[in-house]
Amino acid sequence: MKIIELKETITASNDRDAQVLRDELKRQGTLLVNLMASPGAGKTTLLERTIQDLKDRYSIAVMEADVDSDVDAKRIELMGARAVQAHTGGMCHMDAGMTRRALEELDAKDADLVILENVGNLICPAEFDTGAGKNVMILSVPEGDDKPLKYPLMFTTSDVLLISKIDVLPYFDFAIEKCVERAKKLNPSIEIFAVSSKTGEGMAAWENWLSNAIDAWKA
C-alpha cells in the first residue's frame, strides 16, 4: 500500500466537469442560468413572465429539475419555450453531470438562454456547481428577511438575488433594506432586484440585467 496525498475538495470532479461544460456553453454562445429558491418561492411563475417578455428577442429553453413529476415543464411549454423535465433520481440538487444530460435531451445548441430551474431547496444546490454562467436565487417575501442569516452559502454563490412577491409586502414583516444589507454583507457584488411576477413591478430591471448578461456571454 502506498499513501497518496490528494488535498482535493470532495467535489473536485464535479467542479472540473462544471468548468468544462461552462467553457463549451461559452463557445456555443448559450448562457446557462441556474435558478435556485425554496419550494413555493415562485420560480416557475417568474420564469413564465420572463419568457413571455423576452421570447421575441431571444431563443429560450428551460430545464425543470425535480425529484419527480413534470408539472413545471408543462407550464413552461405553454409559454412557448422548449422545456425538459430533468429528474434528479431522488437527489436534492443538480450537479454538472445531470445538467449535461438534461442539456443533451433539450438539444438547445441554438438557444441564447437556457434556464435550469434547480430543485426547490436553499442548501444543497448552492454546493454543487452545475456549469452555469450565472447563478440566480429567489427569496420570496413570505419566507422572511432573515434567510441570508440562515442560508449564507446560497447568498454567497449567487450573482443575483430576486426578492419576489413584493405585491404582498403590506401583509408581512419583511424589511427589504434589512434583507439587502444582510445579503450584501455576505456577498458585496450580488445584484438585487425586488420584483412581483404578478403585478410586473420591478420585472423590467431584472429582465434588463438578464438581457445584458445574455449579450455579454456571446461577446
Binding site: 500500500m1 499513501i3 497518496i4 490528494l6 470532495i10 473536485a12 464535479n14
Partner: protein, 136 residues
C-alpha cells in the same frame, strides 16, 4: 440525500485518481471535514459503507474522518473565536462583522492504495504532517 450525493462525487474523484495513478484498489480514504461543513459524519460513514460494497475498487476502502474545528474572525476587534460555541456574533465585542476562517471545508486529504505496477507497491510516500491546530 445530501450525504449520498457527496459520496457519489467522492467516488468519482477517487475513480479518476485510480485511473491516473494506475491503482488497483484503495484501502483507506482520509477526509478532513470542517465542523460547520454541514456534513453529518455518522450518516456519511453509513452511506459510505453501503456504497463501497457495490464498487470493486473501493470495497476495502475504510473511511477515516478528521474533524477540522471551525473558527471565526472578527474584523472589528480582530480576534478569533470558536464558531460552533459563539456563532456569527463576536463574543468579545458583539460585532456582526465576522467571517469564517476555517471549518467549512471537505477535503480528501490522502488515500492509501495498492498500485497495479509491481515495482511501486513498496513505495511509501511520507504522510504529510497534519495541519497545526491554530487558534487554540
Amino acid at each position: 440525500m445530501h450525504e449520498m450525493g457527496i459520496i457519489l462525487h467522492l467516488a468519482k474523484t477517487l475513480d479518476e485518481t485510480a485511473e491516473e495513478q494506475n491503482l488497483k484498489r484503495i484501502g483507506k480514504v482520509v477526509l478532513q471535514v470542517g465542523e460547520v461543513s454541514g456534513i453529518m459524519t455518522d450518516y456519511f460513514e453509513e452511506c459510505w459503507n453501503w456504497f463501497r460494497k457495490r464498487h470493486p475498487k473501493l470495497e476495502d476502502a475504510e473511511l477515516v474522518i478528521e474533524t477540522i474545528p471551525a473558527f471565526t474572525y472578527c474584523s472589528s476587534c480582530e480576534r478569533t473565536y470558536p464558531t460552533v460555541r459563539f456563532g456569527r456574533e463576536c463574543p468579545y465585542c458583539h460585532s456582526g462583522e465576522t467571517w469564517l476562517v476555517r471549518g467549512n471545508e471537505c477535503v480528501i486529504k490522502e488515500i492509501e492504495a495498492e498500485s497495479n505496477d509491481p515495482d511501486e507497491t513498496r513505495t511509501e510516500i511520507e504522510t504529510p504532517p497534519t495541519p497545526e491546530e491554530d487558534g487554540k
